[in-house]
């Protein structure tokens, strides 16, 4: 396997990072911005996780022990908002920033100044959102899905701040996506054809288009809310000829592609990691690309499966049931391809691989519960119960989150030039794996037993499941502090890493030294077939 041609600048004196805090405020370097996104998302993850632990503390036993129902609703709402918009999405953007330019042989992102703005909007937007929790009427308390009229006529005054922060977050995502697409389409090194790109680049290309398509629709929905609340319109107010159900249609037109936005980059990450530790190329690269594209396309025509109980006519119910069942097919193809990649490989079990394998298994379980939810008549019994909560936490926690953690373990040695402590990494993995299953598996049962979502207190038959789930949550939650420790310890005092880091890693980023220089691929590398994806 030939090495790519890389020209390294000898004179980095004027290219080096600025000194001090202003470096981080004004940086236009994709590596710095990637770092900012990742640390920000980790902070948000800890905040959102704390809210989850408050929820689980209250649900540990029947009866109200710690918080009032009003505050409980704020905790569930903000936990969802922060995890979706503050933790998962920015983490994936951070990974995109760090990796995409290096993976395609580009010196930086296409629009570096806009890149800086995209990041710095976020701390401002989330400070605004979180500050509403401390305001007189309390923060948003209507669920992360904020259905009207609970979120319009019946909302606390702070809903306006909530709307403004969502606008800002949306703007950040949109700008980030424009940057990502412009980079991938225009700045690939010569010879890096689309079908030679690493799968992580493909998944982010498609995800970015999804974001561009649906974040503006979310912006429209919250603007309509703003108008209903302040300017006397009646988009969602039946009194004025509007329709609360229309809110749900518009929200979920955004909402369903949104959940695929949160999982496609995960698919890309796992598709990079498994081949490396199986020492075998990714099985079915072309199919994997087509599968991701099909999933993205189908994601636009399934939205009303979130609304099966709202009172849609039967034709609508049937259409959305069929389209939702269909989306299982390309997803299944991907799972089969990952398993085939491992099959007859030469597998080792470093920490990134452990998280990636757990992803495949546990995301598949989440996919199975999703398939059950797709069956409309059965969904009448699952909808708005803990069965749904179990489903989406399986696809998001051992799904999206595990892929992010795997990515950090996989690429951190490349970014900072130091190896993490493998034993601690494995310990983190096992605690997380056990914790996540103890937390969320029983929730399938509480849902089947009849426990609704978003309730602060419950009937006695749900007690055992809830107690087990809460114990798991605390195990899982505190294990993430171990992750923080591992990352910091690595950056400060890890063993030096090699350029290749992992014996069978493929891709342009592994041809660079570890740690990667502040500027890389200032001259584009030559791409040959041997360097093509993995």
């Amino acid at each position: 396997m030939s090495e790519a041609v890389v020209e390294v600048h000898a004179d980095h004196a004027d290219h080096g990072p600025a000194k001090g805090l202003t470096r981080w405020l004004f940086t236009t370097n994709h590596k710095d911005i990637g770092t900012l996104y990742l640390w920000f998302s980790f902070l948000m993850f800890l905040i959102g996780g704390t809210m989850a632990l408050i929820v689980r503390a209250e649900l540990f036993q029947p009866g109200m022990q710690f918080v009032q129902p009003e505050f409980f609703n704020q905790m569930t709402t903000n936990h969802g908002l922060i995890m979706v918009f503050g933790a998962i999405m920015p983490a994936f953007v951070g990974l995109a920033n760090w990796l995409l330019p290096m993976m395609v042989g580009a010196p930086d992102m296409a629009l570096p100044r806009m890149n800086n703005l995209s990041f710095w909007i976020l701390p401002f937007a989330f400070s605004l959102m979180i500050s509403t929790l401390f305001m007189e009427e309390g923060g948003p308390n209507f669920g992360w899905t904020f259905y009207a009229p609970l979120s319009t006529e019946y909302a606390p005054d702070t809903v306006t701040f909530f709307i403004f922060s969502l606008h800002m977050i949306g703007a950040s995502s949109i700008m980030g996506s424009i940057n990502i697409i412009a980079t991938i389409l225009n700045m690939r090194a010569p010879g890096m054809t689309l079908m030679r790109m690493p799968l992580f680049v493909w998944t982010w290309l498609i995800t970015a288009y999804l974001l561009l398509a649906v974040m503006p629709v979310l912006a429209g929905a919250v603007t309509m809310m703003l108008f209903d609340i302040h300017f006397g319109t009646s988009f969602f107010n039946a009194a004025g000829g509007g329709d609360p159900v229309m809110f749900q249609h518009i929200f979920w037109f955004f909402g369903h592609p949104e959940v695929y936005i949160m999982i496609l980059p995960a698919f890309g990450i796992v598709s990079q990691i498994i081949p490396t530790f199986s020492r075998k190329p990714l099985f079915g690269y072309d199919s994997m690309v087509y599968a991701v594209a099909s999933i993205a396309f189908l994601s636009f025509i399934v939205w009303a499966h979130h609304m099966f109980t709202v009172g849609m006519p039967i034709a609508g119910q049937l259409f959305f049931m069929y389209s939702t069942m269909l989306i299982a097919v390309p997803t299944g193809v991907k799972v089969f391809n990952w398993v085939s990649t491992m099959w007859r490989g030469s597998i080792t079990f470093e920490t990134p691989m452990l998280f990636a394998i757990a992803f495949v298994a546990l995301f598949t379980i989440g996919g199975f519960s999703g398939l059950m939810l797709a069956i409309t008549p059965a969904d009448y019994q699952y909808h708005d119960t803990y069965f749904v909560v179990a489903h989406f936490h399986y696809v998001l926690v051992p799904g999206a989150l595990f892929s992010i953690i795997a990515a950090v373990y996989y690429w951190l040695p490349k970014w900072c030039g130091k190896m993490y402590d493998e034993s601690l990494g494995k310990l983190h993995f096992w605690l997380s794996f056990i914790g996540v299953n103890i937390t969320f598996f029983p929730q399938h049962f509480s849902g089947l037993a009849g426990m609704p979502r978003r309730i602060p207190d419950y009937a006695l038959q749900f007690a055992d499941f809830n107690m087990v789930s809460s114990i798991g949550a605390y195990i899982f939650g505190f294990s993430q502090l171990l992750f923080l420790y591992v990352v910091i310890k690595t950056i400060r005092s890890g063993r030096p890493a090699t350029a290749r880091v992992w014996e069978a890693a493929h891709g342009l980023e592994w041809t660079l030294p570890s740690p990667v220089p502040y500027h890389t691929f200032t001259t584009p590398p030559k791409i040959t077939e041997a360097e093509a994806h993995s």
Binding site: P149, D384, R454, Y458
Partner: protein, 382 residues
């Protein structure tokens, strides 16, 4: 058989058996089969898709487990280099599609049955409020015969862990919905404020209650009994505290109860022109206050300022202008959570609860409120 293969096989079989054992403890871990033809059809669909998933899971996880054990570098396994197979891709695209088409047929059938609301024997209106349900019975001509509110009765002491929780903690109400078995009951569901959802797991039916929109449900219950459900759409702070209790009675018992209820309704209408003693008003009023007012204004009347103002010592509840007090209870206060109780309570109930508020705790307005005062106020007089 080499050791590793035997271990693997044992592992898979063991896992499969565990799964089987778990799956057959239906009552503890699984969805209810319920007491209607629809709930059983839904349960069957659920089990069908569940087994499809289990078999698929065994296939996928089995392959993964085999691979993780046998294709390890530490066992000296060298990596093959194959990385594509159009044939396999086609196969594992087509086979799932065929399985899904197979699932779609029974699912479609059950859905069509669920949408067949015609030919009902009786109709009940179901209305969601923050935070209780109201049921109104309609006679054969669709006139409303009587209606009542169904509110959670679990005592606050149980919820605040001061006393032991009862068996039906959070799933008990003052007035359950009563319906006959073996008759097609049609439910017309809507909401008076935000979106709620009405769900009885044992009937296999759930529908959102949307303000400004009517939704339809039906059921034919086959076994008498008491069935409990909950609101399943976030509707505010007491979303978890507005349960649904349905008592399904044998036809003869239901008919008898219904007739008795009609008589009660006639008597209640007559009570509107009655006069009550202060003690009767206080007793009735306290009951109504505890059901409708305590979640915001608190049992001690102190409220939760500034959002829920105190009644104890308030000017409105003790001042001479009773009309102000009537107005706010009967008409509500726009822009706040204070609802127009004039539509939820009749004149006798309103008189009792207003009288109670004026004379409870440290209040002593020194007057007496009769149903006729309310009727006079509501017929538009200032």
């Amino acid at each position: 058989m080499p050791n590793v293969n035997k271990n693997w096989l044992q592992g898979v079989v063991g896992f499969g058996l565990a799964l089987l054992a778990v799956a057959t403890r239906a009552d503890e871990l699984n969805m209810t089969q319920g007491v209607t033809a629809i709930s059983r059809a839904v349960y069957d669909l659920h089990m069908l898709i569940f087994w499809v998933c289990v078999v698929s899971g065994i296939g996928v996880f089995g392959m993964m487990a085999w691979s993780l054990i046998n294709h390890r570098k530490s066992r000296g396994h060298a990596a093959a280099q194959f990385h594509e197979s159009t044939q396999m891709e086609i196969l594992w695209t087509l086979i799932p599609v065929l399985i899904l088409i197979g699932m779609a047929f029974p699912a479609t059938q059950v859905l069509i049955q669920m949408y067949d609301t015609g030919g009902e024997d009786m109709t009940v209106e179901v209305r969601g409020y923050q935070w209780r349900w109201q049921y109104k019975y309609l006679d054969d001509d669709y006139n409303s015969t009587f209606g009542f509110f169904s509110s959670l009765t679990t005592p606050i002491d149980q919820r605040h862990n001061r006393t032991v929780k009862g068996e039906n903690y959070l799933l008990e109400v003052d007035n359950p919905l009563r319906i006959p078995i073996n008759r097609k009951v049609r439910f017309l569901v809507t909401s008076e404020d935000v979106i709620h959802a009405w769900w009885v797991p044992d009937f296999g039916i759930k529908r959102d209650a949307v303000p400004g929109m009517l939704n339809e449900l039906w059921t034919i219950v086959e076994e008498p009994g008491i069935y409990r459900g909950q609101c399943t759409e976030l509707c505010g702070k007491d979303h978890g505290f507005m349960p649904i209790v349905v008592e399904a009675l044998p036809e003869a018992e239901y008919d008898a109860w219904y007739a008795q209820r009609l008589e009660l309704e006639a008597a209640r209408k007559q009570a509107l022109s009655q006069t009550f003693s202060a003690d009767e008003l206080m007793a009735q009023g306290e009951e109504i206050y505890n059901t409708f007012c305590t979640s915001c204004h608190m049992p001690n009347g102190k409220g939760v300022p500034p959002v829920f103002p105190p009644l104890d010592g308030s000017d409105i509840a003790t001042g001479p202008r009773r009309a102000d007090h009537f107005a706010i209870v009967i008409n509500g206060k726009t822009g706040t959570a204070m609802q127009a109780f004039g539509r939820q309570l009749d004149a006798a109930q309103l008189a009792a609860v207003i009288h109670y508020e004026r004379h409870a705790w440290s209040n002593n307005a020194g007057d007496i409120i009769q149903p006729s005062d309310i009727v006079e106020f509501m017929s538009g007089q200032q």
